[in-house]
Symmetry: C2
Subunit: 235 residues, 2 copies
């Protein structure tokens, strides 16, 4: 719980010679994150993590109690700033449009922009989203724990914004639209492996982030609107 003692970890650091001033806790989180991305959660042992971090094996259980809580800590650390930016973007869009609610495209952009930016920046955030896809299918209810810890607050906020942007949409339309939109986004985020498979020969890696954002928003908004008009037709 306490955050002291900067130099002691350095003196005995064997591996990870760079970044010598970092706390043990952060070194573990960094190593865990990169190994989780590369190999998955279950396939990554605590020994590999601590070796890469240049830290003693027992440090993990000392600082995080268990491997499962380490996984959650890795995810929360990455997710919090992204969700903060999502909310502030949504705030800004809502302020800009004054009395009217922002368009569906704006709301979707507020949700997608931060992760697209991070993917573009690439530096050390880009590879993270793969973890979300992994966690989603991981047994043990890990996703559920993470959801209530980091996602529940922003989910309601965006659900309301989408509802206001789509007058005439029933709650089931909203629900299905969000469900499928999250799926499309998650798949886009996990695209490194998926992309190569789908593309036979054409389709370059599409490095342009603003174009990616535009396509994502277009597809998802189009899907949402088609859902709503389908409901209207069938009445």
């Amino acid at each position: 719980m306490t955050e002291t003692n900067v130099s002691s970890a350095i003196s005995t650091a064997t591996a990870a010679a760079l970044e010598p001033a970092k706390e043990t806790k952060d070194r573990i989180l960094d190593a865990a994150e990169s190994l989780f991305v590369a190999n998955g959660f279950q396939a990554t042992s605590l020994r590999r993590i601590t070796t890469m971090a240049g830290v003693n094996l027992a440090a993990v259980n000392y600082h995080f109690q268990s491997k499962e809580q380490l996984i959650l800590a890795v995810m929360v650390r990455k997710l919090e700033p992204i969700n903060r930016r999502r909310l502030s973007l949504l705030d800004r869009f809502e302020a800009e449009t004054g009395p009217h609610p922002p368009s569906l495209e704006k709301v979707l952009a507020a949700f997608l922009q931060p992760i697209v930016d991070d993917q573009a920046a690439g530096v050390d955030l880009g590879s993270f989203p793969v973890l979300m896809g992994r966690l989603y299918t991981e047994p043990g209810g890990l996703m559920q724990k993470l959801f209530s810890a980091a996602f529940a607050p922003i989910a309601k906020r965006f659900k309301d914004a989408i509802t206001r942007a789509l007058p005439g949409a029933g709650p089931l339309d909203i629900f299905w639209g969000m469900h499928l939109t999250i799926g499309a986004m998650a798949h886009y985020l996990a695209r490194p492996p998926a992309l190569a498979l789908l593309a036979g020969r054409d389709a370059a890696p599409v490095p342009n982030p603003s174009q990616s954002l535009g396509r994502l928003v277009a597809y998802m908004a189009g899907g949402f609107r088609a859902l709503v008009s389908r409901s209207a037709d069938s009445l």
Copy 2:
């Protein structure tokens, strides 16, 4: 490789007293499938599989050489009939429309119908799609191997059909649309855990399969078309 010797496996069957006439190989596949669905690939040990199947531990490596090949065998066994039905549906739709290509909605329905049906039937096929989502994020290039084994042939066929149904669409539109569509579908299939999280209070489990198919098709076709018209606008 050979398929003989029915009675010898029965005499010593300890657990799994039911279905006594099944071959060892099938018993292993059945047990592996249900355990993979429940706990994931890595978390399922060969010992649990063989115990549940009422089979000796060594039988797995005898029949499947390795755990990885067992996983692939489980997936291929489930995927093949689904892909067969997908292709025959597409064939039928193309025959029905005569000289014109079938609509985008028809093509998407041909792709989605078999899995929605299976989910509705539920009996023992419904839980399988969770595995696809799992495999997608599993390390070791497993998905790649499965893809080239079971998916590559139908991917090209549907890509062509979509291209014909969307005149004026560029190859990038098709590519992105398929990418995001597959994501939405995968997420829909893996919905058992996701659904409960997203739905605050409303939104019943939506048991009606034909309504599900309609919503899926509407969302995806709407997304596709919005992608195409976006490209047309920006030219």
